[in-house]
């Protein structure tokens, strides 16, 4: 087991915001079982803000902690702010990740951004 920070262990043992929001406004999926990690983020948007965010994660301790942390960081942020969440920030918020687990932090932010992109694409369609 890699040397995980206390923060990682906290999010791993008590992951926040598990699940899928009902009738999501945006859905983002990344990864696949071959790599060992898979995440699905669903968001509810209201007034350009992320009102609700949930995720499903198949993955290691780091992947689960990253999902949980990203969901907490995103909730309540404007879409622009949420788009600016970087992998580095996620890892930092978690008190760091072991070198060989850094790729997990990428997945979390990527999945969130994909969900936002999905929402924006749909918005455009309905607005257009």
């Amino acid at each position: 087991m890699p040397q995980y920070s206390d923060k990682v262990m906290d999010h791993f043992t008590k992951p926040r915001n598990i699940g899928e929001v009902e009738e999501p406004d945006g859905v983002g999926e990344v990864g696949n079982p071959v790599c060992g990690d898979m995440m699905k983020f669903t968001i509810k948007v209201k007034d350009n803000r992320i009102e609700d965010v949930k995720y499903l994660t198949f993955g290691c301790g780091a992947a689960i902690a990253v999902s949980s942390m990203v969901s907490e960081m995103a909730r309540g942020k404007t879409l622009e702010e949420a788009k600016k969440i970087t992998n580095k920030q996620v890892a930092e918020e978690l008190g760091g990740l072991p070198g060989n687990k850094m790729h997990c932090s990428n997945l979390g932010a990527d999945a969130l951004h994909k969900a936002i992109d999905d929402y924006m694409a749909k918005e455009k369609v309905s607005a257009g």
């Binding site: 995980y4 791993f12 699940g19 060992g36 499903l56």
Partner: protein, 410 residues
């Protein structure tokens, strides 16, 4: 760090259940006792020209007899090494370098240990041809595949006796017969098997056999290689003429003595020891399959090491399982890429055709000296709970549930 965090969070478990004895087992106290005098009292060098070397020398020869006994070999055909990896490297590099048999082709199974596979990779780069035999869904090699692979350039066949991960035991005698007919040296890596199942180099028909003491309650740093008379190897650690000139270096007397003692105990108590663990293993398996849906057995249902159980917990990933189980005081290992230092999922599980999601969710459970049937309900309860919890957050599981629903409503 993890310990601190567990304590603070009140997460530390009162349980302490090792289900990963294949990774490491405590040294048998009787073995350690036998080793002790050789650290500080009979500390001499067995090659010494004086009396201080005599007890150590006699002790390593006694150990050689014991190891030979365990595999029905002659002591003079057994040499000591510091690890199974070293023995395997001596076999392959040593045989290729000796170049007694002309040819450029080597055969092994696709589920060998990396101490075999990685050498073959290197040899391939150097221009040798390598055939890795496929295995069936239980991890078994088909002798027909071996027969088809052999050609007149084949200089070595190396096939493990048993797989440490999925426990599958190969039909070595049948396989080696094909080599013998053609006079091709046959090596078996019995590191996972020795001490657990009966080994007999005559019945198995092998020319070379690797075993390791730490796999059956002997000391770390102790291993041996059986080399049949007439097989020529070039030493890979050159220097002094210890171990018949096949392996230089001052003999690690305590380790060798420990290996000998472990071999004696394994020989004497083999059926009792293994019978007990096989019974617990079978109960554990039954209990887990009853309690946890979508569980898959990896490896052969019968032809497997008595202390080994390997399962795939569908829809979840191994490291997460491993971490949760650890918090519950249960220690296991996994074939998941996230738990491997090389970040690759098990080549063994992929060879038996497990799709990635099942390989990622594999748990290798191996029993050992403190294993007890009493722990089965606790283990079962924990794994059941943890599997449910992780599945609840798994996109693969949710997808599966949706498909189930669709199927049901159709």
């Amino acid at each position: 760090m993890i310990v601190r965090c567990q304590v603070r969070e009140g997460l530390i478990s009162m349980k302490d259940i090792n289900l990963d004895y294949a990774a490491a087992a405590p040294l048998d106290k009787k073995v350690l006792e036998k080793m002790m005098p050789f650290f500080t009292e009979h500390y001499g060098n067995p090659s010494s020209g004086h009396i201080l070397g005599e007890k150590p020398k006699a002790a390593i020869e006694e150990a050689r007899e014991a190891v030979a006994d365990l595999i029905n070999a002659e002591a003079k055909n057994v040499i000591f090494t510091a690890s199974a990896s070293e023995a395997n490297n001596l076999v392959i590099k040593g045989l290729v370098k000796a170049g007694k048999r002309k040819g450029n082709h080597l055969i092994a199974s696709s589920i060998e240990h990396f101490s075999v596979l990685n050498q073959l990779k290197t040899l391939k780069k150097e221009g040798y041809r390598v055939t890795l035999l496929p295995v069936d869904k239980f991890g078994m090699i088909n002798p027909k595949d071996l027969e088809a692979a052999i050609d007149d350039q084949t200089i070595l066949i190396s096939i493990q006796t048993a797989n440490s991960e999925i426990g599958t035991i190969q039909p070595i005698a049948e396989l080696s017969a094909l080599a013998r007919e053609r006079n091709i040296p046959f090596h078996t890596d019995a590191a996972a098997a020795a001490g657990w199942i009966e080994l007999d180099v005559e019945k198995m028909g092998v020319d070379l056999l690797t075993l390791a003491g730490d796999q059956f309650y002997g000391p770390k740093g102790s291993a041996a290689l059986y080399v049949k008379r007439g097989i020529r190897l070039m030493p890979q650690i050159e220097g002094g003429i210890q171990e018949k000139g096949l392996r230089a270096g001052t003999e690690n007397v305590p380790a060798i003595v420990g290996l000998g003692e472990a071999a004696k105990i394994a020989k004497d108590t083999n059926s009792e020891r293994t019978g007990k663990l096989a019974a617990i293993r079978d109960q554990l398996k039954e209990s887990l399959f009853k309690a946890v849906p979508n569980l898959h057995l990896n490896g052969h249902p019968e032809k497997r090491l008595p202390h080994n159980l390997n399962l795939s917990v569908e829809f979840v990933e191994g490291e997460a399982l491993l971490m949760r189980l650890q918090i519950a005081g249960i220690y296991v290992s996994s074939g998941s890429s996230c738990t491997s230092q090389a970040l690759k999922s098990s080549h063994v599980l992929s060879a038996i055709g497990r799709p990635p999601e099942l390989a990622q969710g594999s748990l290798q459970l191996t029993l050992g000296p403190n294993s007890s049937a009493e722990d089965i309900p606790y283990i079962t309860g924990q794994l059941s709970e943890i599997a449910a919890l992780l599945r609840n957050m798994s996109p693969l599981y949710h997808q599966y549930l949706k498909e189930e629903k669709t199927n049901a409503s159709v």
